[in-house]
Amino acid sequence: MVGQRKWNRRAAAAVFLLPAVLGLLAFQLVPMISSVVISFTDWDLLSSWTKLHFIGWDNYVNVFKDEKSYTSIRNVFVFLIGYMPLVAILGTLLAVLLNRNMRGVKAYRAAVFVPVITSWVAVSIVWRWILNGQSGLVNYLLSLVGIQGPVWLQDPTWAMVSVIAVTIWKDIGFVSIILLAGLQDISEDYYEAASLDGASAWRRLWNITIPLLSPSLFFVVTISLINSFQLFDQVLIMTNGGPAGATSTVVEQVYKNAFQYNKMGFAAAQSWVLFVIILAVTTVLQRLQRRWVVYER
């Protein structure tokens, strides 16, 4: 009887688990290992893959030596420095407003989330128009106050600024809705005690809201960090990495090296370098977490 049940249990486990494990093997583990192997070769997709030519660490060295590749890594950090603080601060402020108990606040919550559900490709095309030098809305509005706007996406300096601004525009709804959930978890009691003590609105924000919101902030920062490193869709559509590599990103370079220049080995090495960077930065973030994230007990 007992033996029968044990056998049943194993059979059930096998049947239920089989599809997921097969998928994991075929679409995750095997490709992962192949990717490591390919990254040490100069394979070009066309030559037979049974005669791989190993070139040691050359690809990895070139990830940093090759100018395009190096620029793309630097750009990702430039993006991060511009994007992360702004989206976190603006997202927090928006969340505080969305948390106010007043009429119509639900409509605002619904409105700010609309860019989040839209595909990056569609949104990027709309912004290409809005940021266009001649027929764009932004430059028209600037001309009303007497400013001659730049050709945003074709300007070496402004292209990255534009990509950062548009990404904040798309993500802020997402960030603020997550932070809103965090705010709603903070008990009213803290605020009541603070106002009895006569604490100013600023002190309440700084001493109650921010510390108690820090776990959600930490989540938002981690997520947007990982997404920033994988910047691709909006860059490919809005600037195609240009002008002159000003907005090229690592994933954009991986895509182009692999599927336009057939440099499979180099692309694989780039993707692993990116993985190590993401891993390193998130690890540092985890360590720092103890310093500023407050977990309520």
Binding site: A13, F27, Y108, T118, N132, Y140, F174, Q230, A268
Partner: protein, 275 residues
Amino acid sequence: MRDKGLRLRNGLSHAVLILVSVILAFPFVWMLSGAFKDNLEVVKMPPQLLPSHWNFDNFAEIAKYFPLSRFLLNSVGVAVATTILQLFVCTMAAYVFAKIPFRGRQGIFLLFLTTMMIPTQVTLTPLFILFQKTHLIDTYAALILPGIFSAYGTFLMRQQIMTIPDDLLEAAFMDGASYFRIFRSVVLPLVKPTLAALTIFAFMSSWNSFLWPLIVTNSKELMTMPLGLSKLQGRWATQWNILMAGNVISFVPIFVVYLFAQRYFIKGMTMSGIK
């Protein structure tokens, strides 16, 4: 006195929120209006908020070269298939990880967790080769298959199924129910809210996916909406009215669904940030 201060603060909040909403929503209004303008009006300065004649010429123009409705159907079909299959695969595996212990289970689960950390572009090249060698490039299978297996979805469902009391499952056993029966009649009904959230998340990931379809499709007949839109851009680089018409086709369906199922969208998409 206090009342007056509150009213002032509420007034200010409304003002800021209205401004933010306008900034976030206006590009969509602009897109809609642009889609119905003609070639001249769309670049006219000063710009005009609404087209003087609403016409569907831009949509007709696209239809001459690109099967827009086909793109839309492909997107819907691929996203629906991916979502349904992913829910099944993830939830079944999650049931084992949560409630059916066996030797080696922990090790397999650890492997799942590890793959969660690997970014997609690492496996991009080998996955492409895998599909090429199996002659599946430019097929629906290539668009759907890799999206079905989600370590994240499995993890999420496992956490949820863990919260079901063992006694409940044990009682069902005593009544002679099989594992399959318990899964269907006890587990699934109890995790419905999480399933709903995962449905939205999986659907939206597939619906908005761009890089993978870009790599594995060649023929127009198989393109999904985001890929189709990028091809429109290739043909009509700065013909904004035509490009906006394409965008409208991709935006309106998902927006309408969002209007009706807002709550689920927000829950599903904020469950994880991995877009």
